[in-house]
Assembly symmetry: C2
Homo-oligomer: 334 residues x 2
């Protein structure tokens, strides 16, 4: 396999250039280039480590020489250009078998160590929200708020931002994935922040929408509608629920309120910020199971006026959805 | 095509989910999903824009229906999983032809507008170096320096960091791609910083190595050797030079000085931080041509003691290599 998150998940190796083979007999070998040999030996002490300038073809050749008859290759991570090199390395001595989402399915259910890292990432994110958003004042720009969120997360121990923070004031809050600009915050503006920390490779994802000054009636109403839908969806995200049906529940509720659904309800979170299971209309993901970590993030957007999204990252447990992001979901009036 | 930098390069569309077809007759159509329709119409006003939840298969189906007989697909950007969807969409009505590096070759030579963006990215990077590195004092940590570089670039107008800054003190400077830690700066430490700004989609890449306090003899000698090799390679990076031979020139000089080459001499820079042409031993890139923007970044690393790398981003012109990063290459003693 060559998807780096999958290699890391199964081997512990965090370098950016590696390929991993695991045999049915449990024997495993990891290929990487010379820059990462010391690191690979330290991070994956139980594996045979092979040096190769081009790890994936190098690994295939090594498996061929070891008498392996077939090797699975990850269809979602191997390009048409790369597969040519794999076939050359296989040299008719070993059969390449395309696989789909095998490791992604394993990764969807988190173990205790992973949940601990996700919990820490979410704690850092909650703390940055409180540090930065609760202290906003008129005149600050979207870019400045994004920078403050980044700095607050780093200062609290984040290894990186999970993604570039989304910060939208006023009408910009109606753009689901708005990139921060030099727009200044004005009284009466909705403030939508969507950001998260990465900790030990694991991501957090949090969206809150607040207002500077007293909320207008339409803002209060919009926020209450989204908050209600988000609460209902959290309550429904129990083991056995189907991700596509949860998405339908949210979009039906948004439609019933008189608005148009703009995006899916959520997604899995882990070594990637977006991973299985996806909570979308076309999701083919199976039932939610204990240990899955997902976001619940409905939003309603009024073009030219403003939008509200409320998002939590949380873990599915036997007792229901347990939020890892816990900062208040109330409509704060700053 | 589906490589997003390639789509952006040819169409102007900057969304993250799009596919572009350009016909021999010059007709072009861009497919993207509903989130990006308004943006696509604004950024690519001359193109037919097609809405599709899955832009690449949607585009293939659209071309098939329009009577197209063959479509090029980018082998380096289409995965095995994606190509199945393209074949389904083609439905035997249109032939899919794998292409290799067609747009990447066009992108290797920059026009005036691109060079202006690269120049601005490099100016921001130079300024951040002066702001941060020249003011270092004992006790600061690698992570803190990385954060200061990021903040200084953002404050100077960068839209993002070109990549996570590399900051290595003392023995850490001997690790080519060292990730910043909580190590504190001590007197006599070499300080290696490798970072850059992104501006309007274009990247800068700058490495300098300085020392805190008076340099030891071995540090001065090491720095002088790398500086000499870097200067010679800049002088040789003229139109007509072969990237693989430039790399050989550098590695031969490093070997002649008694050290082991640890990485390639450089790479193209543009919409990606690493792009064609690559200055490596195995590079198949053709001769350098005016308008190419590349890095020249030789380094020598003494494990456990320290390393020196000096890197500039610059443009190949008829008159030779013109550095866009211009901050002093002398061994500064802070």
């Amino acid at each position: 396999m060559t998807g780096w998150e999958n290699v890391r998940y199964l081997s512990g190796f965090t370098g950016s250039n590696g390929a991993l083979f695991i045999g049915r007999d449990g024997n495993a070998r990891l290929a990487t280039d010379g820059r990462y040999l010391v690191q690979a030996a330290a991070e994956s002490p139980d594996l045979d480590v092979i040096e190769s300038r081009r790890p994936a073809p190098g690994l295939v050749a090594s498996c061929r020489d070891a008498g392996q008859s077939a090797i699975g290759i990850e269809a979602a991570h191997v390009t048409l250009a790369q597969v040519r090199g794999l076939h050359t390395a296989a040299d008719d001595g070993v059969t390449l078998v395309e696989t789909d989402g095998v490791v992604e399915a394993l990764r969807a259910v988190k173990d205790a160590e992973e949940i601990a890292a996700l919990r820490r990432a979410c704690e850092i994110t909650d703390a940055a929200f409180s540090d930065v958003v609760l202290k906003l004042s008129p005149g600050v720009t979207e870019r400045q708020v994004a920078d403050r969120l980044y700095s607050a997360m780093r200062a609290a121990g984040a290894e990186a931002a999970a993604f570039d923070p989304i910060v939208g004031f006023g009408p910009h809050s109606a753009i689901p994935h708005h990139q921060p600009t030099d727009r200044e915050l004005g009284r009466g503006d909705l403030v939508k922040t969507d950001f998260g920390a990465r900790y030990d490779g694991y991501h957090a994802d949090l969206t809150r929408t607040v207002v500077l000054g007293p909320a207008a009636h339409w803002q209060r109403e919009l926020h209450a509608q989204v908050a209600g839908i988000q609460q209902d969806c959290r309550a429904a995200a129990t083991p056995g629920a189907l991700p596509s049906q949860l998405d339908t529940q949210a979009s039906d509720a948004i439609t019933a309120a008189g608005y148009r659904p703009a995006h899916g309800l959520g997604h899995g979170v882990g070594l990637q910020i977006h991973e299985d299971p996806f909570l979308t209309p076309s999701s083919t993901a199976g039932e939610l199971a204990p240990g899955m970590v997902i976001t619940i993030e409905p939003g309603i957007y009024l073009e030219g006026r403003g939008g509200v999204r409320i998002e939590d990252t949380g873990v599915v447990t036997a007792a229901g959805f347990d939020p890892l992001t816990t900062v208040t979901r109330d409509l704060l009036e700053l």
